[in-house]
């Protein structure tokens, strides 16, 4: 089944296959704008993201990816426009129960053990004790840290810390996960592992929104939005974007689209 992209309009006749549940809107952004003084970080952004998607916000540094994520998480207040999550206007604290957030920094407690970190973040989401116990085991298996349960985070390698950070963002079974540059400074092997995790989340119906400036890995996304200077310049399935611009990679597609946009 082929449907026309309902949220983009910029790329024109891009179509995409129904690999996710396009009937359930999870995130809806309308005319979202963020300015810092005279600098416009995000300009009049419109986006709709559906259930079970891995949506990649793609763009070079300073294109406004993190700003968008932070507005959706309620860490920044939009200057203009609105954002909805699960049909709820933001900011909405109770809705955060369904949201998982993995910040750009590793954002875990270095002086505590893996176990304590997972217990703490699980506890903050109010998981009952037995559920928390079960989820902790599940998460340790998921990110392959079973043998490190009682190690101090400060003794772990960077890759392990990243995995723990992801586990902390997922322990409360969120249905929407924001991952802000989860693969920066991560070796290729772990990156492949991470994309495996994201894929298995999407299969379970979890919506994953990811920012990255690695164009090659964005091929794993079900849809990507290409950002440049705070504006969405193109949106669609990676294959469609490549087809449309007649390029071999998303990187070339991005360059071709920016050129097209400037003329």
């Amino acid at each position: 089944m082929k449907v026309t992209c309902p949220s983009c309009g910029l790329v024109g006749k891009v179509t995409f296959e129904h690999v996710y549940d396009a009937s359930t809107k999870v995130v809806e952004i309308r005319n979202l704008t963020k300015t810092f003084g005279r600098f416009t970080a995000v300009e009049a952004l419109n986006l709709t993201i559906f259930k079970g998607e891995i949506y990649g916000l793609l763009g070079p540094n300073g294109s406004g990816k993190s700003t968008i994520i932070k507005m959706l998480c309620g860490l920044l207040r939009p200057s203009k426009g609105s954002a909805e999550i699960f049909g709820q206007q933001l900011p909405c604290k109770p809705m955060m129960q369904k949201v998982g957030y993995m910040p750009q920094d590793t954002a875990i407690y270095l002086e505590n053990t893996v176990h304590e970190n997972l217990q703490f973040f699980g506890g903050v989401y109010g998981l009952p004790k037995d559920t928390l116990e079960k989820k902790e085991q599940e998460m340790l298996r998921f990110v392959n840290l079973q043998d490190w349960r009682d190690s101090l985070v400060s003794t772990l390698s960077g890759g392990m810390r990243h995995r723990l950070s992801l586990a902390c963002a997922l322990i409360h079974e969120p249905s929407l996960v924001f991952l802000d540059e989860p693969t920066v400074g991560v070796d290729p092997e772990l990156r492949a592992l991470f994309w495996g995790y994201f894929g298995s989340l999407a299969e379970k119906g979890v919506t994953v929104i990811i920012t990255t400036h690695y164009m090659d890995e964005a091929d794993h996304c079900s849809r990507v939005g290409l950002l440049r200077k705070g504006r969405l310049i193109a949106e669609g399935r990676p294959t469609d974007l490549k087809e449309q611009t007649q390029t071999q990679s998303l990187e070339q597609a991005f360059l071709s689209l920016t050129r097209g946009n400037e003329t």
């Binding site: 309620g74 860490l75 920044l76 604290k93 955060m96 957030y101 963002a169």
Partner: protein
């Protein structure tokens, strides 16, 4: 800062509140050939008191004057009895017939610096007065035919500096530890991103602040129990008042300074910058809150500054509880100030966390 240092360090004690009851009737003009102008010995002694050091309030009721010392409104009450001058003259002119005349002092003995200053000033004034009279009455000033009877309302006259210092140190330690740990922890939370992560959870900003407060309550109580135990065991300090009330004051101090720490942490990007806040909190507290020397020894134009330093109220309350054995009814103003400080800084820090750019 250097100015405050210079002016507060080593300053003489000034403006010690004193209640004076003068019941002395004196002797009228012409009643004694040696003293044609009559004599009001109490007045003469009073004139020799330095009014910069002692802030004298005249009281007609000796019971009320004593009550003032009891309530902490004055450090000392001085009572000249009715026949003070007559008794003095009788004792001098016909030695051995009656006991020496007595000046009664009611002292709040909880502050050894102030007690020493008061006694020095009063004995000095008596000696000066006697030396003025020595020529006319043919007495030697060293014999000093006046007894100064000291009655200690609090402290029993044996309060050592360490007794006075301990309640202050307990409060000061809590203040420093709480403020510094909060600043450093919050700077870390911000820098690590764990604070952002917490803010994206359903937990509200108030819950985060209260959670921190509860943790500090535990740390604060354990720390003050250790300090107090050390004070009692090592320095043999007697705690007169209710220890639970003392702990309550500690808690309020801890809460307020935790809020202050969160607020200050917003101004620091890393631990190094956070450390720069130490002198900002440390020095005013050491210098102006009455930790080492009484607030009365700060120059009078700097004394009002001490009212805006929360530690002052903590130290004040702790001393009142531990040395005077005061209860809730007497220290409620200190408690109120501490509660206000805590409410103010904690709610401001909730607002700070809620603030979104």
């Amino acid at each position: 800062m250097i100015l405050i240092f210079g002016y507060t360090f080593g300053g003489d004690v000034q403006g010690i509140a004193l209640e004076m009851v003068n019941e002395d009737t004196g002797i009228p003009q012409g009643s004694l050939p040696q003293l044609p102008d009559g004599l009001f010995l109490a007045n003469d002694i009073t004139e020799n008191l330095n009014e910069e050091i002692l802030s004298i309030h005249i009281n007609s009721d000796s019971a009320d004057a004593r009550q003032c010392v009891h309530d902490g409104k004055a450090w000392v009450a001085i009572v000249y009895p009715e026949n003070f001058t007559q008794n003095f003259l009788t004792a001098v002119l016909q030695p051995g017939t009656i006991p020496q005349p007595t000046i009664e002092l009611y002292l709040d003995g909880t502050n050894p610096t102030i007690v020493a200053a008061v006694l020095k000033e009063i004995t000095g004034a008596i000696q000066n007065t006697l030396s003025e009279l020595s020529a006319t009455l043919n007495i030697t000033e060293t014999s000093m035919p006046i007894t100064v009877e000291q009655v200690y309302v609090y402290g029993g006259g044996e309060t050592r500096f360490i007794d006075y210092f301990a309640p202050g140190v307990v409060s000061f330690a809590i203040m420093m530890v709480t403020t510094m740990i909060t600043i450093i922890l919050f700077v870390n939370e911000r820098r690590n991103g764990t604070l952002q992560r917490l803010l994206v959870t359903p937990a509200s900003e108030a819950e985060i602040v209260v959670g921190y407060a509860l943790a500090f309550a535990v740390i604060g109580i354990i720390q003050s129990i250790v300090v107090l135990l050390a004070a009692i065991v090592l320095f043999d300090i007697a705690i007169v008042g209710n220890i639970l009330l003392a702990l309550l004051v500690i808690l309020l101090l801890a809460f307020g300074h935790q809020g202050l720490g969160i607020l200050l942490s917003a101004g620091a990007k890393n631990e190094l910058q956070a450390i720069q806040f130490i002198p900002l909190i440390l020095f005013p507290s050491i210098l102006l809150a009455g930790l080492f020397w009484p607030i009365e020894s700060i120059p009078s134009y700097l004394q009002p500054l001490s009212y805006i330093i929360p530690l002052r109220y903590g130290i004040d309350a702790e001393r009142a509880i531990m040395l005077r054995g005061w209860g809730f009814g007497e220290i409620w103003i200190d408690l109120l100030a501490l509660v206000l400080f805590a409410v103010l800084t904690l709610s401001a820090s909730v607002l700070l966390l809620k603030r979104k750019i």
